[in-house]
């Protein structure tokens, strides 16, 4: 049995069942007059059909998964930390502001994910956040949140 294919197929199958129910609630309509749920239902049916095939194929195959795809403990920690840092950064972006938030994000990335010396981390984070702010906000006019550093009258 191919475990990875079976797990993923099952997950997609459950998602497709959920989407089918939701589409039904939205009103599928008829072939003559398709409703809001018509296309989602069709897509969900296709997803469910193909996921079922993947599950059955995974069960019938005698070979096991060929290679180890998952990272070691250190790898998992890095992936989880990266996601947490990015999510924290996104959630605090408008409150803290781009400049300060980006400086903190870069500093944490350089200290936690790829440990560098304090001096290198601080200098890089400062220059990169300042440069990106000047590039995007001042030059390219991409509106970025000022946050705590905003100057209000």
């Amino acid at each position: 049995m191919r475990v990875l294919d079976f797990i993923s197929g099952l997950a997609w199958l459950l998602l497709s069942l959920f989407a089918m129910l939701e589409s039904y609630r939205l009103d599928i309509g008829s072939f003559q007059k398709p409703g809001s749920g018509f296309m989602p239902c069709l897509a969900a049916c296709a997803l469910g059909f193909f996921s079922a095939i993947i599950c059955v194929q995974a069960l019938l195959v005698r070979k096991r998964d060929e290679e180890e795809v998952w990272p070691n403990r250190r790898g998992w920690t890095n992936v989880a930390l990266l996601l947490m840092l990015l999510t924290g950064y996104a959630l605090s972006l408008e409150l803290v502001g781009f400049l300060l938030g980006t400086f903190c994000l870069l500093l944490l990335l350089l200290k936690i994910i790829v440990p560098q010396s304090w001096a290198k981390s601080i200098v890089f984070s400062f220059l990169a956040s300042l440069f990106s702010y000047l590039l995007f906000e001042a030059w390219l006019k991409v509106p970025l949140p000022p946050g705590l550093l905003s100057i209000t009258p």
Binding site: L26, Q32, A43, N78, L83, L109, L140, V142
Partner: protein, 500 residues
């Protein structure tokens, strides 16, 4: 305005000093994002869309188009020197380009890829100029069934050419269509799958999805291992290929131009499929197929030509039918809409300066790329020597700004992070992102075309087989769908994980 008159008008627009400057910016930024792995043209274009609001539409689109084809030039540099494709369309260039560099022939590899890109890019533009006007006229006769069949064919081609399981690719297509349904239904006004979240009522943005699936997920994958990257230290001597190199490459370049252009036209075809198809053809036609993968120059020339020729082809469905062939075109479609321009067959008539200006600017852009890129290769190499621990935070930063900048929305950044995790898991479970993205892009158009067709036919699916063009497209799609069962094998294009 059509034909020669249109071309002359286009040059009068493209050669204005301000537009030349925008073109220069575009191709330079494009080359830069092509060189930097993890940051593709989609991210760069979405980052720069807000800046086009301060310029005329033609200047803005000249720059955005320049980013797209410029990235194809830049992508080969990393493939050849670092064995890491800067751009997904240059994945296949790694195979022989890196081997050539290891044999001390990095110069001719970089040179032939630049010349091939120039020739392919130029022939692609000529094809675009010749094919776009008659296709735009023909597109006026397209009804909903033809649109639907064409999009189904595009999705089928992409699934057919995907590297792994075709069933998994079709699953991703179905998932893409499903997620494309999120938001307000334009026909009935019903809210679908938005669950009261205001940001979801407009649907999920393509930019956060693409950046998450291909940018963030790549960084997550890289973060699993020690973040070190070796740049192959070699002296890049003469960049000019020898006569023998040209002899071996010219056929590949000409074939790559044709393959790239025609595959570029198809929705779902695009630059990646073109480069893989060209490599497969060259290997098959070669008298020494065993030399491929060991530094065959035709294995560099063909794919690099094809991916540039495909950029010209990819504009055809967008400019003539209003159908984006890939994620970059979908972002460009969004940019055209922001500028109040109607895409499709009427664009040529209603905004000739954008239509012809953008097309002809690709000539000047290709010349600029050839002139600028060869001398600038040492600069790009130095850029690659920036240690990855300092490069990946910048890639993350650009992805965040790109997602945030378009709508000033933190929700978009969170969406990008979510799809980064989804992309990471998809790679682990061996699902491909490309069919998902194309189906997501085409989903709303596909739904409209299907609903309209069914209303016209009073609920009969026969309508797709009763009209000649629609029937032809459908039959090809069905043949591709069932051919693996009949022929018992499928020529996979071997698409990389980070398509688009």
């Amino acid at each position: 305005m059509e034909g020669f008159e249109g071309i002359l008008f286009g040059f009068s627009v493209a050669l204005k000093p301000i537009n030349l400057l925008y073109c220069f910016f575009g191709v330079t930024i494009g080359t830069l994002v092509g060189v930097l792995p993890g940051l593709g043209p989609t991210a760069a274009i979405s980052l720069l869309i807000p800046t086009t609001l301060h310029s005329t539409p033609e200047s803005g689109f000249i720059m955005l188009a320049g980013i797209y084809y410029g990235a194809m030039y830049g992508g080969s540099t990393t493939s050849i020197l670092v064995n890491i494709p800067g751009e997904a369309a240059s994945v296949v260039t790694c195979l022989d380009g890196y081997q050539m560099a290891k044999q001390g022939r990095a110069g001719p590899a970089l040179g032939i890829s630049a010349f091939g890109s120039f020739i392919g890019g130029t022939l692609g533009i000529i094809g675009l100029m010749v094919a776009a006007p008659p296709l735009a006229r023909m597109a006026l006769k397209f009804g909903p069934p033809e649109y639907f069949s064409l999009m189904i064919l595009g999705l089928t081609i992409l699934s057919y050419l995907s590297a792994g399981s075709m069933i998994k690719a079709m699953m991703m297509g179905a998932l893409g269509i499903l997620l494309g349904c999120v938001g307000v239904d334009t026909v009935s006004g019903a809210n679908r799958f938005s669950y009261g979240v205001p940001e979801l009522m407009d649907g999920i943005g393509i930019v956060p999805i693409v950046m998450g699936l291909f940018g963030i997920s790549e960084v997550l994958l890289n973060s699993e291992q020690s973040l070190k990257r070796e740049v192959f230290v070699t002296k890049v001597a003469s960049l000019l290929p020898t006569r023998s190199d040209w002899k071996q490459s010219i056929g590949a370049i000409l074939r790559g131009s044709g393959i790239g252009f025609f595959l570029g036209i198809l929705p779902g075809g695009g630059t990646i499929v073109a480069s893989f198809a060209s490599y497969a053809v060259e290997k098959k036609l070669s008298s020494k197929p065993e030399s491929f993968g060991k530094g065959a120059i035709a294995g560099v020339a063909g794919p690099e030509t094809a991916n540039n020729a495909a950029t010209g082809g990819a504009f055809i469905p967008l400019l003539t039918l209003g159908i984006p062939a890939n994620a970059v075109m979908a972002v460009l479609l969004g940019a055209l809409m922001i500028h109040g321009l109607q895409t499709g067959p009427l664009l040529m008539r209603e905004a000739p300066s954008v239509f012809w200006g953008m097309i002809t600017s690709m000539y000047t852009g290709n010349v600029l790329l050839l002139v600028l890129n060869l001398p600038l290769i040492p600069l790009w190499v130095r850029l690659l020597k920036v240690p990855y621990p300092f490069l990946f935070p910048l890639i993350l930063l650009f992805c965040v700004v790109g997602s945030y900048g378009l709508n000033n929305s933190v929700f978009d950044v969170l969406t990008m992070i979510f799809f980064g995790l989804v992309g990471y898991l998809l790679k682990k479970f061996k699902y491909e992102g490309a069919p998902f993205v194309l189906a997501f892009i085409l989903g709303p158009m596909l739904e409209n075309a299907l609903r309209q067709s069914l209303i016209i036919s009073n609920g009969s699916f026969k309508i797709f087989f009763m009209r000649p063009l629609s029937a032809t497209l459908m039959i090809i799609a069905l043949f591709l769908l069932f051919s693996p069962l009949i022929l018992r094998r499928r020529p996979t294009a071997g698409l990389g994980e980070k398509d688009f």
